[in-house]
């Protein structure tokens, strides 16, 4: 494959409470490669290290050992402000609980990553409007999160994740708090972003059905990737 390597993880080990009696190794040497334009799912039971892996991918945390290059940037030498910049420009987070800022309108929420990126007021306003319209939220831009339904909130969150045109969208149980039909809608959006815009997406989920829709399914068990298989890449009928 001559595609651009977005996530390049080699032998990633993560330990907590180092040097203390309760020292805990959560990841025991994970290897993970995700290429540009892929839609990959990471599944596994709770306690398997999914969240830790996601924090690692999302530059919220650094590995104890191992190599991690994100879109060519070596995380090993990253300092705190570098991590902020990586999260800002390279990664678009979509959380299970949306994590929209309550006092801000949908529009302002979407503008936020661009604000931190130092984009001008008019430019970020235009882009935020475009993204929200693309997500079908054009008529809800001035609403605050508590005036929106769960599905609407998640659509705002996806628009926000797309704000700085990141190299990867990292979705952590994005449908976990939604009913199945709304969840379906959100999944369709991810498929659309992957197909039409070629977005690289990593989906973390405990739902085998949702994982099956992606191109590649990685199963994490006890801090190791124990299996890797191809998904259907297709939405199940019905």
């Amino acid at each position: 494959m001559d595609k651009r390597l977005i996530i390049d993880m080699n032998n990633i080990v993560k330990r907590y409470f180092i040097g203390k009696p309760n020292e805990l190794e959560v990841l025991h040497g994970v290897n993970l490669k995700v290429y540009e334009g892929e839609f990959v799912a990471v599944v596994g039971p709770s306690g398997s290290g999914k969240s830790t892996l996601m924090n690692m991918i999302g530059a919220l945390d650094l590995p104890t050992m191992g190599q991690y290059k994100l879109d060519g940037f070596d995380m090993f030498h990253a300092r705190e402000d570098d991590l902020s910049a990586i999260r800002n420009k390279k990664i678009g987070f979509v959380f299970q609980t949306y994590n929209l800022i309550a006092r801000m309108t949908a529009l302002k929420n979407v503008e936020l990553p661009m604000l931190y990126a130092g984009m001008g007021k008019r430019e970020r306003n235009t882009r935020a409007k475009e993204l929200l319209t693309m997500m079908g939220m054009g008529d809800r831009m001035q609403h605050t999160p508590d005036e929106l339904s769960g599905g609407q909130k998640q659509r705002v969150a996806i628009a926000r994740a797309m704000a700085n045109d990141p190299a990867i969208i990292l979705a952590d149980e994005p449908t976990g708090a939604l009913d199945s039909s709304t969840g379906r809608l959100i999944m369709d959006i991810f498929h659309k972003l992957n197909h039409e815009q070629g977005k690289t997406i990593v989906l973390i989920t405990h739902s085998p059905e949702l994982a099956e829709e992606t191109q590649r399914v990685l199963t994490l068990h006890d801090g190791l990737i124990v299996s890797e298989r191809k998904g259907t890449g297709k939405v199940a009928a019905g």
Partner: protein
């Protein structure tokens, strides 16, 4: 990140918790408000003092005979004290005599306009038929009567001739005329002869003028029978009292600014010391409105310091309140902080956000404090019959100071927010 965005975010989060913000600001409001109020009062009174001093030409120097402070003496218990042991009033022999005044006029002819002399003779009642008016007989020389700035409603002033002859002519108040003659046509009183009945004595006067009585007495007198002043010639009073000399006089400085009134005052002091250095009990002391203003300013300074200390404590408490509420707010908004960090906020931008929020909170408190202080201080100044002059410099200082409090007390919570681990913050329940 842009300052404007931070300020609007800060305002949004303050508005989301109005009650809490208000209570937090209370300490700042009280602190800033009290400082501004006392400064407004001080500034107003000083300004009106200054303007009345310049308008009245009141660079007058008051000269009075007062008892000397005794030398430091040791009492039985061996403690040293200094003070007037027995209060004594100056007697006639101690008074300022005419020959001293003649010398004074000669010596300071180039710098003084005149010497204001007056003596109160007695208080009594003028009865005309069934009407009566209470008066206090004050004799004054020409300089004195000029200094009283009387506004004549009818008749004429007491002239030079009458002064020289020590004539029993009188200026009475419009109030007294109303009382005596039951009329507001003041011309009616001119030329009338009236008799003042005082304890054990009668004094006859011819009314030559009616002056306008200010309303100042009304506050205290109400509808009661007020005593107003009957002005007559100094010679007339001296002819009746047979007192030689004056316990108090006032020296009017020439209005020219080039004349140093402080220097003049000390020279007049030295002048009188020449006559009084042999007097073991009494001396002459001088004072002026300026020196009184100095004393007043000193007193005000003391009061200001006291209030500033209290205000400082209020501001300290207020600042701690701000810190406390910022800590609460940060803990409530932990997930928000985590989210912001996930979206790419750097530690310094989080720190800046919360510092600005604390500063905006304090600034609003400061502005409310300034408004309350200025209106309270102006009201107090009005009650003291001074025109309100809020001190602009102290308003600017206060606003800047309240922001400084925000910066100081907001830094610790903001830093705490900035240093949060994004993962812990994101998963915070």
């Amino acid at each position: 990140m842009l300052l404007g965005e931070n300020i609007s975010m800060a305002l949004a989060s303050i508005l989301a918790n109005k009650m809490r913000a208000m209570l937090t600001m209370l300490g700042i409001i009280i602190g800033i408000g009290s400082v501004i109020a006392i400064r407004t009062v001080g500034n107003s009174v000083t300004e009106s003092f200054n303007s009345s001093m310049s308008s009245m030409g009141a660079t007058n120097i008051m000269v009075g005979v007062t008892q000397r402070e005794t030398e430091a003496v040791k009492n039985d218990s061996g403690l040293e004290f200094r003070g007037r042991r027995d209060q004594k009033m100056p007697e006639e022999k101690d008074f300022i005599k005419d020959y001293m005044l003649d010398d004074l006029r000669k010596e300071f002819a180039d710098r003084i306009d005149g010497v204001l002399l007056s003596e109160n003779l007695a208080s009594g009642k003028i009865t005309i038929g069934r009407n009566s008016a209470k008066v206090r007989i004050t004799g004054g020389n020409d300089d004195y009567l000029k200094g009283e700035n009387l506004e004549l409603l009818a008749g004429r002033e007491i002239g030079d001739k009458a002064q020289k002859g020590g004539k029993a002519v009188a200026l009475v108040s419009d109030y007294a005329v109303k009382k005596m003659f039951n009329t507001e046509e003041y011309d009616h009183a001119i030329g009338k002869r009236v008799q003042v009945v005082a304890t054990g004595a009668f004094y006859d006067f011819t009314i030559v003028g009616v002056y306008k009585q200010g309303e100042t007495g009304a506050l205290f007198g109400g509808n009661e029978d007020r005593e107003t002043t009957l002005y007559t010639t100094l010679g007339c009073v001296k002819g009746r009292s047979h007192i030689d000399g004056y316990p108090n006089i006032t020296v009017a400085k020439k209005p020219e600014v080039s004349i140093d009134s402080k220097k003049l005052r000390s020279e007049i002091q030295i002048f009188f010391d020449r006559y009084y250095h042999t007097n073991r009990i009494f001396e002459v002391t001088t004072s002026s409105l300026e020196s009184m203003l100095d004393q007043f300013t000193k007193l005000l300074g003391t009061i200001s310091t006291g209030i500033s200390v209290i205000a400082g404590i209020a501001l300290l408490v207020g600042g701690i309140g701000v810190m406390n509420i910022m800590l609460v707010s940060i803990s409530e908004r932990t997930r928000e902080i985590g989210t912001r960090k996930a979206l790419g906020a750097t530690n310094s931008s989080i720190r800046l956000q919360f510092i600005i929020e604390a500063m905006v909170l304090c600034l609003i408190g400061g502005i409310i404090g300034v408004i309350i202080g200025v209106s309270g201080g102006s009201l107090a100044a009005k009650l003291m019959e001074a025109e309100a002059h809020p001190s602009i410099s102290s308003i600017i200082e206060s606003v800047a100071f309240s922001m400084a409090i925000g910066l100081f007390f907001g830094y610790y919570p903001a830093n705490k927010a900035a240093k949060m681990n994004p993962i812990d913050a994101l998963t915070y329940e």
